[in-house]
């Protein structure tokens, strides 16, 4: 389970690469030497290795999981996914993840903006800090938040076993997604266009709304989508602070774990497949969206 999740995450990062692609490409005015170095095809052996590796690591386990979830037939699968406790866990998960994604979209854009456009002492330190949630084991995030917002909170804030607690924990671990996808686009963004708009009399809000935001939008949305996809499957960071209260703070990953512990693996597999479908749909929509905006930008140039 952990491995598939890690894989899903990295798969997500690939998407970040493609969506921020147009911006990055514009900068590289490629010479012929650079191009010829990269035209070397890996050949059929390379292709075979790729397919084999992907099958072993991703496709076969996913297929096995899906088959397993139908061990009790279609009705067994349907019963497991529509059990009230399962539906509640999925509902809580999606709801909290949407909130987290929205929070990230706003805060992540602000953070990226400050990091790119402002200079202040300790900027590189703050910049490095952004990646900390990626490097930190998520369970550590849970302990960190529990010591600050738990029952023995030194600041008197108790978020333990509440939905706001879940949001804080997930916002912590998904912080880098939006920041890191918006940052490079913002660096590439043409300041001259903004200056031109200003000289034509546009105020700051108009410049942001009409000039900056459209160019940032694909990156913001893909970052937010990745944060959402990550939040949906997150386990470690919510396991301590979430409280695991069925119907209120139990997220889908905790429900899955519980079903395994009470020896109902088919239920666990069925809910896993539902979760997988949600994540996959999210990534797919993002991909379609980012490809379309990339095409649009291509056409406009």
């Amino acid at each position: 389970m952990t491995d598939t999740r890690t894989k899903a995450d990295t798969g997500g990062s690939t998407d970040a690469g493609t969506t921020t692609g147009p911006g990055v490409v514009r900068q590289r005015s490629a010479g012929p030497a650079w191009r010829s170095r990269l035209t070397g095809s890996a050949g059929s052996l390379g292709l075979a290795i790729t397919v084999l590796w992907l099958s072993i690591i991703v496709l076969l386990p996913l297929a096995a999981l899906t088959v397993h979830s139908f061990d009790d037939g279609w009705s067994g699968f349907w019963d497991a996914v529509t059990a009230p406790a399962a539906l509640d866990a999925l509902r809580v998960t999606v709801l909290v993840s949407v909130v987290v994604a929205v929070v990230n979209v706003v805060m992540g854009t602000v953070v990226a903006w400050v990091l790119v456009r402002d200079d202040f002492p300790g900027k590189s330190f703050v910049n490095a800090l952004i990646d900390l949630p990626f490097a930190l084991p998520t369970i550590v995030a849970s302990i960190v938040l529990l010591s600050l917002y738990g029952p023995q909170s030194p600041v008197g804030i108790h978020l333990n076993a509440t939905q706001p607690g879940l949001v804080v924990a997930l916002a912590f671990v998904t912080l880098p997604f939006v920041v890191r996808s918006v940052q490079p686009v913002l660096i590439e963004a043409d300041k001259e266009v903004e200056q031109a708009a200003a000289s034509l009399g546009a105020n700051n809000l108009t410049i942001f709304r009409r000039v900056v935001l459209p160019s940032l939008a694909p990156a913001i949305i893909s970052g937010g989508g990745l944060a959402f996809a990550r939040a949906i499957g997150e386990y470690g960071s919510v396991v301590l602070i979430g409280g695991n209260i069925p119907r209120r703070t139990q997220v889908a990953s905790q429900y899955i774990q519980q079903q395994i512990e009470v020896d109902r693996p088919v239920n666990a597999a069925a809910v896993s497949v539902a979760l997988l479908a949600i994540s996959f749909a999210t990534l797919l929509i993002l991909r379609i969206f980012s490809e379309r905006t990339a095409r649009k930008e291509q056409a406009s140039r």
Binding site: T6, T10, E261, D263
Partner: protein
């Protein structure tokens, strides 16, 4: 122009992907390296031999084994023995061993978790043929409450008062949960003579009003309670004693009528180190071992040792036992079998 630039973007993306793939590999490698052993090793020094043992135990036994293993290492047979310990929900631990986890000694909360291994051919069917029936220590079911007992809980019926929230683990994974539910069941049904009365009580207790969380093990239930959830924690007496001694703001009530907890221990057939494993199991019954259990808050089975600790372990007015209810085989079949047992059905209905 547009085509060329698009092909270039594809390459740059591809280059990005190689980097991402390498990062992914590194990440997977790191994860694998970090997620190594979850169990901790306690034991004497590795050089003096004595052998390595793997112990699979239920979660709440940890404070007991922390003491007992220290004492075992002081004996001739246990000198230098290293005991790898794994703790978790009793049923979950039992299924892990059945599914192939290597264990020399298993120590579960309830007998059916060992019976599962007997059925799987991993534990000899004579494991409980000794004088103590394979049970080296035990406890009683108690009601733990917040310090000062603000809700005035003294007996089983107090749990049904409106608004009283009870924390007890999930009986499908936890052994503790089964004991916790058997205690009021036996009390209300007069030791099983009137099963319906017992089930009526459990039907009221196992409802959305009283049971809102489903921790997987006794230990997790205690942690949930200590973090502020619920008014009442049903638990082992030893767990309540351990928590109180650690300074947690709780106290426990022994209800007038409660249930005797018997925690079985067995050596597996495929033990890698059978001599040390048997020596360790035998040590649990020895005077030193029994004293260590008593010191840790568990009720010893040796009458001589028990006599020395009567002050720590007051006798309730009435103590029902699993034998009074017809033995584990009967009780597990009637009450706890998933989908058919009457308590299992009640629990599923309330938590689904």
């Amino acid at each position: 122009m547009s085509r060329r630039s698009s092909s270039r973007s594809w390459f740059s993306v591809r280059r990005g992907r190689v980097a991402v793939a390498l990062t992914a590999l590194a990440a997977v490698g790191l994860t694998a390296a970090c997620s190594g052993g979850s169990s901790d090793t306690v034991g004497g020094d590795a050089h003096s031999g004595g052998g390595q043992l793997t112990l699979f135990a239920y979660s709440v036994a940890k404070p007991g084994y922390d003491k007992v293993i220290g004492e075992f290492n002081k004996t001739e047979a246990g000198k230098g023995a290293q005991i790898q310990q794994s703790y978790g929900a009793s049923g979950d631990q039992s299924r892990k061993v059945k599914d192939g986890a290597q264990a020399d000694v298993v120590s579960f909360s309830v007998e059916p978790d060992i019976t599962r291994l007997v059925d799987a051919g991993l534990v000899d069917s004579t494991w409980n043929a000794d004088a103590n029936k394979g049970v080296p220590f035990g406890s009683v079911v108690v009601i733990a409450v917040r310090k000062g007992n603000p809700k005035g809980i003294h007996d089983w019926n107090d749990l049904l008062k409106p608004g009283v929230e009870v924390v007890t683990p999930n009986p499908f994974s936890s052994g503790s949960a089964k004991w916790n539910l058997l205690a009021p069941y036996a009390a209300e049904s007069d030791g099983g003579k009137n099963p319906q009365a017992g089930l009526d009580y459990l039907g009221k207790l196992i409802s959305k009003e009283h049971i809102k969380v489903q921790p997987k093990s006794g230990r997790e239930a205690t942690e949930t309670f200590l973090q502020g959830t619920g008014d009442v924690l049903l638990s082992y007496e030893n767990e309540a004693i351990f928590s109180e001694r650690s300074g947690d703001p709780i106290e426990h009530v022994i209800p007038p009528t409660t249930f005797k907890i018997e925690n079985p221990v067995a050596v597996t057939k495929n033990a890698k180190n059978p001599t040390t494993a048997v020596a360790f199991k035998d040590f649990l019954y020895s005077q030193a071992g029994q004293k260590a259990w008593a010191e840790a808050g568990f009720r010893p089975v040796d009458p001589q040792v028990a006599a020395q600790y009567t002050k720590d372990f007051p006798a309730p007015q009435k103590l029902w036992t699993i034998a009074d209810l017809g033995g584990w085989k009967q009780v597990d079949k009637d009450l706890f079998t998933p989908d058919t047992g009457s308590v299992a059905v009640l629990y599923d209905k309330a938590t689904k």
